[in-house]
Amino acid sequence: MKFLNRIKPEFWDHRIFSEGPYSSQFNFRRTWYAAVFLTSAVVLAPLIFMAVMDYRATLHDVESEILLRTSRLVSNTRRTLSYFLDERRSALDFIVHDNNFKLNVNPERMEQVLENLKRSFGGFTDLGCIDHQGIQCVYAGPYNLTGKDYSDQKWYQQAVKRGEFISDVFRGFRHIPHIVIAVKYYPSEGGPFRVLRATLDTAKFNDMLSHLEIAGHGDAFIINHEGVLQTPTLFHGEILEKISLPIPDFAPETRVFQWVTEKDVPLVIGYCYITNTPFILMVVKHKKELLKSWESSRRELIGFLLISVAFILFVILWGATYLVNRIFQSDQKLIFSLHQVEYTNKMASIGRLAAGVAHEINNPLAIINEKAGLMKDLFLFKEEYKQNEMLMGLLDSILKSVTRCGRITKRLLGFARHMDVSIQTINLEEVVREVLGFLNKEAEYRSIQISIEMDENLPNLDTDAGRLQQVILNIINNAFAAMENNGRLQVKAAMADKDNIVLSISDTGCGIPEADIKRVFEPFFSTKTGKGGTGLGLSITYGLVEQLGGNIDVKSEVNRGTTFTITLPLAIKEKEMKNSCEYS
């Protein structure tokens, strides 16, 4: 809160006194809100809109790219797998159409063929020939499977039915996962058929998939149409287990789709059905991993966006505060000037009024003076009246009163004369006494002691007596207001240096609190608000002293009193005066 109070602009707590159709224009806080919100909206809305649009567009692009890459990988791998299986099937096909093989099949020959196949193609484990009853009659390989009955095996039945068959991975008699490729053939025309069966080692198959470099915790594997895993996987289960992912719908071409697991992990799944086999090739990638690099660059961009927004907001807040404060200040200045003009006009009116009254009174006063004087003259020539003390006393009393009235009108005229702007040579003490003349009666009633201490060698001042008079009058008026009865007012003057004179006016009044002392010269600052104070007296005084080329300072102690110290140049510069008059 303290920090907020410190940075709070001047206008924030400004109270609106004026009423009327345009009073809302003086609600500076509202102006500030409007400026901040409008500017923020105009600046930030497009920025945020662009950022969101860009986010969505790049996300879409990146996702498309991921799908495309996955699709390409699946297609390429499918081609390789298809080729691998086709090649081996074609090899078997070639063998069964070889007449030597057809007519004369024995274990030695079978061994030789298996050896050739292993050398040329690789991946073959064993090779066997099954007769039309399903009995393996010839076998070459590491297991002893001669005489085994395969008639109830699915692969055998399918091969008999379709002519050729590629099985999915199964354990069979040997309890090792393997694939069977079987080709049906007729050794002699019209004779019973036989089936040549080759067993493929799944290691070769697995190798082909495990060598794929798949980004984003990717996994490539094969399932059969029932969803049973045909190759080992990294994350989706063991071989021959049922896969946890959905079995994709049949499609003749490569497809990619997105899937979210039960644990809310988004996946990108590419698949394709390998033609003429029970296999479905699947490539599964973690979408989050794939988006990682994009997300990190996004994070940087969002960070940059947030910093930009913060900076823009800061600039907007600072700018709006600065501008509204400037408007507020110039407004205050304007109001102050208007008040000052009003004050000057008021003083000038009072001056004119005083001069008029004094003049009107001076002439009849002069007549009374002369008439009474003549009466006295006449009485003095006649012995009978000359001795009449009562009559002479009456005349003297009239003349004395006339003199007293004359002094009052002279003072009024002096006051009025000084309303006009002009530089005169004045005696400071005379000006002080002239001002005090107006307040003597009040001082008497309130038993306020007034002491004047002037340096004896004080030179005369070339200054504007009217302004000086107002300055002194304002300060002494304030002093009187601050003091209780029986107070003491002290006016002192001395040379400050060879060009300046220093005048100090001290009272024994209530003093000014430390917190207020900096603000006493501010316009509209008043502790007498509601008691007739406008808060302009001291600020006008400050302005007047400045116009006189001097400066004013104040020192105060609460309940002890206040001292105003005014430093004035001995001679005011004409130019300075002229400039200042334009503002007054």
Binding site: A355, A358, H359, E360, I361, N362, N363, L365, A366, I367, I368, N369, E370, K371, G373, L374, D377, L378, F381, L399, V402, T403, C405, G406, K410, L413, G414, A416, R417, D420, S422
Partner: protein
């Protein structure tokens, strides 16, 4: 010493002339400028006491004209005004010797007159 008094307040100049007469000073008076100019053509005066505001020609102009006619004549301004114009009239430029603000005691006036005549 012959003195000419010019002021629009007849009662004032009349009484003042009488009081000066009692003190042995011959004083003539008039309440307007033209009459004053006519008077100085006819008679000799050592000194004139003028008001600043006089019907017709104002005091300052009257002073100029009289000064032209009688360069040796001395002048005292006596006024009820304390305005800038009056003050200018009292400045050295116009060559007015004294500037007094009404009401003026007879002693003060005599003192200034004597000072002027003895210059």
């Amino acid at each position: 010493m012959r003195v000419l008094l010019v002021d629009d307040e007849q009662e004032l100049v009349e009484t003042l002339a009488e009081r000066l007469g009692i003190r042995g000073i011959e004083a003539r008076w008039t309440t307007n400028g033209d009459a004053a100019l006519a008077l100085i053509d006819q008679e000799d005066f050592d000194l004139a006491v003028l008001d600043v505001k006089i019907p017709g020609i104002n005091g300052i102009n009257l002073h100029k004209m009289m000064k032209e006619k009688c360069p040796r004549m001395k002048f005292i301004f006596m006024t009820g005004h304390g305005s800038q114009d009056d003050f200018a009239a009292g400045s050295a430029e116009t060559g007015v010797d004294y500037y007094l603000l009404k009401p003026v005691t007879i002693d003060e006036l005599l003192h200034k007159m004597n000072q002027l005549m003895n210059k």
